[in-house]
Amino acid sequence: MDELLRMEGITKVYPNGIVANKNVDFSVRAGEIHGLVGENGAGKSTLMKILFGLNQAEEGRITLEGKEIRVDSPYAAIGHGIGMVHQHFMLVPSLTAAENLVMGLEPRKGLYLDLQAAIRTTEELGKKYNLIVDPRAAVRDLSVGIKQRLEILKALHRGAKILILDEPTAVLTPQETEELFSQLKLLREQGNTIVFISHKLNEIKELCDRVTIMRSGTVQGTFDVASVDEKDISRLMVGRDVILEVQKGPARPAGAVLKVRGLTVLDRFKKRAVDGVSFSVRRGEILGVAGVEGNGQGELVEAITGLGSFSSGTIAVDGESVAGMSIRRIRDAGVCHVPEDRMTYGCAAALGVEANLMSCNHDSPEYTGPVFLKGKAIRANSRRLVEEYAIKCSSPEQEVGMLSGGNIQKVVVAREFSSGPSLIVADQPTRGIDVGATEFIRSRLVELRDEGAAVLLVSADLNEVMELSDSLIVMYGGRIRAYVPDAKAVSEEELGLYMLGLKNQTPEEIARVVHD
């Protein structure tokens, strides 16, 4: 097959100094489905955003069919036949499907918008590619799978020959995924080229012809999918020959610190994001929560930490119900929280390292007098934490936003872990950060467990959740589908079945996690 597209020597540095792509080469053949894999933060999305003109690279060039092209905007990308379906849908909720489809290429009748033509186009295109969407429905009323369909249609309607799909399956049910795959294969038959971003290796094996593996902003290699197995890919992705192993002794669980009973949380759309969940986390154990993202883990964490509300059930920490408690009081009860999105909840990027380290305990008598803050004690504490957590910064006053992702996360965990917590809620604690910081954070979690803390670990990283946890629950569709008392005793394949909702334990088996 012929090479269709080539990206050479791409380097991208974000304004905060993070190098997302370093001298990356990437090429795609006509008519193939090309997998692009890598962990969170490996630089896949950045590379594709550069190809689609959403980001500009500092260095490097792009050639299409041998000719160099400049892609300085999505508009230019579309002009070259490059379309992209983003992880977060690029749809306008209040407009109809047809309006969204024709947005930017509106059919006109005189001065006016020709809505009938838009509706016809939606129907015709849908039939042609087997991507059926109701043209008159407002997008906010469509299901996730249909929205994605509409996104693909949008790209095709604009004459995309190269279609970039950014982790399209992350938000889909297994059936929807299956459907998507057959639609993508149909598109390939019709001569389209697809770049498929994922970190799910089984999907790559099933769908793709070739695969390019990225790690830490660089390309590790491109292979025919048939010639490599999942272990090879995983080795290149995570950069080691063995699956990561966390050094830790056996857990010695004691009494339950966190008791969640019959918890139900409604999301913005009044759907039961968490649906009658009961479990306990005991002193001295790490309970992992495995699951594909978006299956209620986020809402669960928010309910426990007080950031969000819940509609029924109980949550108790050390026997005290947290319902109606302020976040302050929940924290005083010994709960700390490593948030999933560190830039939104975990730090103030414009403030210094010290100001970020003291946010939770600045009003304890140790750090403030009746009027003034105790500058010396605060400075001593931040110096200690910077050293203890090996936070690389020029001074405690340096803006957190100027640090690398790993160091920002270290600032977050240093603050949270140093509060002497009895319950640690760690949501994706190592997402998108470097290996050194990852290892550091994981071993700190184990240390804290050994000192008697209860740890609730939520992670989409299967490696992490399997290796770091002592026991596991698996969430799917807002419910607990399985409880694994010994995390070592379960295979990846079996977990996968629970995670995708293909298999459920009996209620009795699941109820063991209540530990009453």
């Binding site: 304004p15 993070i18 997302a20 933060g41 902003g217 403030l351 100001a355 009003d363 006053e397």
Partner: protein, 356 residues
């Protein structure tokens, strides 16, 4: 902030001021028949006599108050523009005490200023409460309240404090005990400047060295993070605006009792809007506010002197002010230069990966 960034900010600010002054120069060149003389008056007029320089210092005092008031509210991320009305209504409140109360000398102005501060803080607190309770935009409601304060204040003066024997619409004379003593002879610089200096220090200590100031900074920088950290962000939103209003009201009281013998304002004095410029120039740092206030006062007095002795009206200062706001707040102004610095440093460091 690292030292490099600080230097960068100083360069940026200087350049913005330079550009604004260049624009001023061009305007004067175009407008004036004798541009040399006009410019001389504009740039050097404030220095040509003791009285003129005194005028600069006099004007600096209210600008310092509103500058700090706005700084506190902006630091909290609150676009409350009620400093204008707070200053005015605070002055009315102080006038009320100065006219109607009989108190011993030192006590009298203190009571008047405290009352003015209280009224100012209530005034700026209302938009804050409306925002926290119902999500009404503090920006829009504070703008409306400015007009309400203006007309309500005039009503009070006109119906309860008006001196019918005076020709114009002015209040009765303040009791002599209420008037702030002058500090510098042959000027109108009152002891109010000492309060302003004290306020600068106190505000700086409050913002830098107390937990309440810290919470204001944290909430302004990232309200979600602040809430996550267990801080009651609603109360921060309210008290930051109450404090801002208090400072504005205090400023109005001191301005009135330090500079005048009766209430005679017929318009909103505009110091609240000037406070926005001062706060932006000072990067919301109370310690820099007096410098920014001095700069703006110097421009103003220079323009006044120029308009008195030449053919260029003083309102052209507004154009300079606007330009300065826009350029200093412009995040892309010289941003390329900054990005290059960051890029150079980052590529030298080992790859650490990042959010894709």
């Amino acid at each position: 902030m690292t030292r490099q960034q600080r230097v960068f900010e100083v360069v940026r600010t200087s350049l913005a001021i330079l550009i604004a002054l260049t624009i001023a120069l061009v305007i004067v060149l175009v407008v004036s028949d004798d541009p040399g003389d006009a410019l001389g008056k504009f740039l050097l007029g404030p220095l040509d006599s003791f009285r003129h320089f005194g005028n600069v210092i006099e004007l600096m005092i209210p600008l310092t108050f509103t500058g700090i008031a706005i700084s506190v509210m902006f630091t909290a991320g609150q676009f409350n523009l009620g400093a204008e009305g707070g200053f005015f209504i605070g002055a009315i409140a102080a006038a009320f005490v100065a006219i109607n109360f009989s108190l011993p000398p030192v006590i009298h102005p203190i009571v008047a200023i405290l009352f003015g501060s209280l009224v100012g803080s209530l005034f700026c607190g209302i938009p804050a409460i409306l925002k926290v309770k119902w999500g009404s935009s503090e920006l829009v409601s504070s703008l409306m309240f400015n007009y309400i304060a203006f007309f309500f204040g005039l009503f009070l003066i006109n119906y309860y404090m008006r001196d019918a024997n005076a020709g114009a619409m002015v209040s009765y004379l303040f009791k002599p005990t209420a008037i702030l003593p002058k500090l510098v002879p042959r000027t109108r610089i009152s002891v109010g400047i000492l309060v302003a200096i004290a306020l600068v220090v106190v505000a700086w200590l409050f913002m830098q060295r107390t937990r309440w100031g810290y919470r204001i900074k944290l909430t302004g920088a990232n309200a979600k993070f602040s809430r996550y950290s267990g801080i009651d962000t609603n109360s921060v939103v309210i008290y930051s605006q109450v404090i801002g209003g208090m400072i504005a009201g205090m400023g109005g009281s001191i301005e009135l009792l330090g500079m005048y013998t009766r209430f005679s304002w017929q318009n909103l004095p505009g110091y609240g809007w000037d406070g926005v410029i001062v706060a932006i120039l000072a990067r919301n740092n109370p310690l820099f506010v007096p410098i920014a206030a001095f700069f703006l006062a110097y421009l103003r007095i220079g323009a006044d002197i120029m308009s008195r002795y030449s053919d260029v009206p003083n309102e052209f200062v507004a154009l300079i002010q606007g330009t300065i706001i826009i350029l200093i707040a412009a995040s892309s102004f010289l941003a390329k230069y900054r990005h290059k610095l960051v890029f150079k440093e980052a590529t030298r460091k080992p790859v650490t990966g990042g959010e894709a």
